[in-house]
Amino acid sequence: MEKEILSVENIEKKFNGREVLKNINFIVYENDFFFILGPSGCGKTTLLRIIAGFTQPDRGRIILNKRDITNLPPNKRNIGFVFQNYALWPHMRVKENIAFGLEIKKFSYDFIEKRVNEMLEMTKLKDVANLYPSQISGGQQQRVALARALVVDPQILLLDEPLSNLDAKLRDEMRNELKRIHSQTKKTMIYVTHDQKEAMTLATNIAIMREKEIVQIGTPYEIYTNPKNLFVASFIGDINILEGKVVEKIEGDKLKIETEEGIMIAKTNKSLNSKNIYLCFRPESITEDTSINTIKGQLKDYEFLGDTLKLAILTEKENLFKISINPENFEKFKKGKNIIFSIIKEKILLFEK
């Protein structure tokens, strides 16, 4: 069993009477790279600030290593924080920014020197150690912020949208850096973002937030393949949605569903309370075997992504579907071409309307 390191219990918070967090519960285990993923304004940064102690919750508890830290001031928590805007101190050199936390803890000069150098090494900042934050690039500033938070060896590290201020290329680079640093330091990290790609590539566990609540917690695989509701399904990855009505139950776990595109058969062990449902499937959940669940349409557009080919198909009923296929016969596809595909019945996701 993994060791529990942080437990967030029943957290609630209002700002000026407006509820921003409601009944938040989750557990983070040691070495986790735990993601809080949600659209902007869903309260995820507030949650992170409550864990760090910058904001007080109205209700609930934060337990860190079996200790209730809810009322502990931020400077007594030993929780690292990487700010979205980095919050580097403009009047201190890179080196001094990193050394600050160690100086506060009154370590010896030699120790500080050694630790800071290790950090500079790990974050590849040796060359800019004596420069001021304004003299270095965005990516370097980001690494200083990371080094500054890590150098004091915090129990956990919180990261608030750390890559959102970087351009696309740097973001990819830093994502790999973060992955390396996480595996190198084995630090438990909680990472807040609205970017599902970051979450899918880095996370060990993801908590999906929507309007002040956590909707689902799970590994990236669980969340992708078994989303709890339509919101989660459409927030993570591409999804095709079709309205439908359950007309019949066959062989226990199969459902016959009437849709605009005809009758579909779905295999599910989910119990549905309503007959009116959304039938959803991922772009890759299709097959060339066209015996059942067939959809016909015209190729509207395509996107070649190297390893896959994404097709946008418009049916006669004006439904637009995105499917992804093996790009082997890329040349064959021309706009306007008629396409037939089937949805794999086991991979159909059903949600109540």
């Binding site: 400077n75 919050a87 580097l88 101190w89 506060i104 938070a149």
Partner: protein, 554 residues
């Protein structure tokens, strides 16, 4: 939380006692006689022909000075905003120089040049241009207008320049593009857009002009509200004129301030957050030469009082001649040996440094509370700390003398506390505003980053907040110090006994002594001027362009 409210309460109470209460006391004295509410005093005072004349004179003085400063400042501001030429930066600073001494000090100097048998008349007679000496100052009124204009036009200049800085030139281009000519564009587009800045500048100049006490006293022109208030203090128990006049002055300044603020808010057109386009025309060759001559003539005239002051301070004999007959350093020696000047310098240094300390301390605290604390009633502190902006020195000093007479703080016995306080409270709004905006600009994350690394409040304040905020505050402190050295009204009114005189009162007293008094006064004036100039320069280096904020409302 309790501690926060306690600190908040103490600061507010202090400000109420020394800002609101004196004003309130004046209002009471104006309307309550023998315990009854009455307009009687009002009637008596306003029926007095001399007082009525003084009110009218003051009003006209203010209007005329607004007009004369505008004539100099508007073209100047446009030149500095729209044109680019060599030495522009330096010239911009030079045009602030007229502010580095109080107009009354300059008045002592310029009397030597523009008096009946002063340099100018002698020169003109020698050249055969005139036969009889011209009286430039008339009854003294004209002298006040000249001195105030030369002293105050930089304030107008800074205000208009600031407006022009925020002015998007593309709005003018759009007007030209639609077929408007220069004049149509100026009156329909440019002027309305810079009006808020112009109006703010005008208000400051107007109030400054009518509450100026030193200059009328030097020109011995007594028929002005400020002088009447000053003299009324001698028999304040039997003569209510002072209260009524101060009351009227209060109402006028408050009204102007509120009107200006409302006007600025109403006309804060935001043209989006896009980068404001600046196109400056490069001036070269012959045009540059003409421009230089123009600017230097204006600069020379505006600095004439200062030149005269310097010349006078070095002159051994200077009567009936264009320039002094003989020069000497004697009076500078006197400054450091004469009993009165020594006292003045000593007192002023003490008063100014203490008031600066109080200001930095209070300003830091109030600025921090306003920016960072989430407590109820914070707005009160904001208002309290901004009110001194609207209270001219003469009103505050008058309030102190009347309110605290026969108390432990009575300035007739020992004015030190009240002088220091009046100096610091008058400049408090600037310091509060500086710290407040520094704190706002200081991202809270910078503090939080420090907390998250285990630093306490004290350490965070010492190592993060203080180093980042202090340059602005200390630059402000230097200015407060310089302004305190120049403070006139409060010094003239509050320092009643000689041993408590600060520099400005010493200068005023010496200027009135026949023999060698004026020369020594000038030497002292020059020393203060140099000192203020250096302070201004240092603060400017730190503040860069933002120095204009010190002379603006809104």
């Amino acid at each position: 939380m309790k501690k926060k409210y306690f600190i908040f309460f103490v600061i507010s109470l202090f400000l109420i006692l020394f800002i609101i209460y004196p004003i309130f006391y004046i209002f009471l004295q104006t309307f309550f006689h023998d315990g009854k509410f009455t307009f009687e005093l009002f009637k008596i005072v306003l029926n007095n022909l001399i007082i009525r004349k003084a009110i009218i004179n003051s009003f006209f003085l203010g209007l005329i000075v607004v007009f004369t400063t505008s004539i100099i400042a508007i073209p100047l501001a446009f030149i500095f905003d729209r044109l680019n030429f060599k030495g522009k930066g330096l010239l911009r600073i030079l045009f602030l120089l007229p502010m580095i001494s109080s107009p009354f000090v300059g008045a002592i100097g310029i009397k030597q040049i523009l008096s009946r048998f002063g340099s100018l008349n002698i020169l003109l007679i020698k050249l055969g241009i005139i036969e009889k000496p011209i009286s430039y100052f008339g009854s003294g009124f004209l002298g006040i207008v000249i001195l105030q204009t030369l002293h105050l036009f930089p304030i107008m200049f800074l205000n208009i320049l600031a407006s022009l800085n925020n002015f998007d030139i593309s709005t003018e281009e759009a007007s030209y593009n639609l077929g408007a000519n220069f004049f149509q564009t100026f009156f329909k587009i440019t002027f309305p857009l810079i009006l808020p800045g112009y109006f703010a500048g005008s208000s400051i100049v107007f109030i400054w002009s009518i509450t100026d006490l030193g200059t009328p006293l030097v020109f011995e022109f007594n028929n002005l509200v400020s002088v009447k208030i000053f003299h009324s203090l001698k028999d304040i128990n039997t003569n209510p004129a002072g209260y009524v006049l101060v009351f009227l002055l209060c109402i006028l300044t408050f009204a102007l301030f509120i009107f200006t603020k409302k006007h600025i808010e109403k006309t804060q057109y935001t043209t989006g957050k896009t980068q404001i386009q600046k196109i400056e025309r490069q001036i070269k060759g012959k045009n540059l030469f003409i421009l230089y001559i123009l600017l230097f003539v204006v600069l020379f005239i505006s600095l004439l009082p200062h030149f005269a002051l310097v010349l006078y301070s070095f002159s051994k004999k200077w009567f009936f001649s264009v320039f002094p007959f003989e020069y000497t350093l004697e009076y500078y020696k006197t400054v450091f040996t004469h009993r009165l000047t020594k006292t003045g310098i000593f007192n002023s240094l003490i008063y100014s440094s203490l008031s600066t300390t109080i200001d930095i301390f209070l300003g830091f605290f109030i600025g921090y509370i306003l920016a960072r604390w989430k407590i109820k009633g914070k707005g009160l502190l904001d208002i309290l700390s901004m009110i001194p902006l609207v209270i001219p020195g003469i009103i505050l000093a008058f309030g102190y003398v009347t309110t605290f007479s026969n108390t432990i703080l009575d300035p007739k016995n020992n004015p030190v506390f009240l002088i220091i306080l009046s100096y610091s409270l008058r400049r408090l709004p600037y310091i509060v505003r500086t710290t407040y905006s520094s704190f706002l600009q200081l991202n809270e994350n910078l503090q939080e980053a420090s907390y998250s690394l285990g630093a306490t409040n004290t350490v965070t304040f010492r190592r993060i907040v203080f180093p980042l905020v202090s340059p602005g505050v200390f630059a402000g402190g230097i200015l407060v110090f310089a302004f305190s050295l120049m403070e006139v009204s409060c010094s003239l009114i509050l320092a009643i006994r000689e041993k408590y005189y600060p520099i400005s009162k010493v200068i005023y007293t010496l200027a009135g002594r026949v023999t060698d008094g004026p020369n020594t006064a000038c030497s002292l004036g020059v020393i203060v001027m140099i000192f203020t100039g250096i302070s201004l320069f240092i603060s400017m280096k730190i503040f860069s362009k933002k120095i204009g904020d010190f002379f603006r409302i809104g």
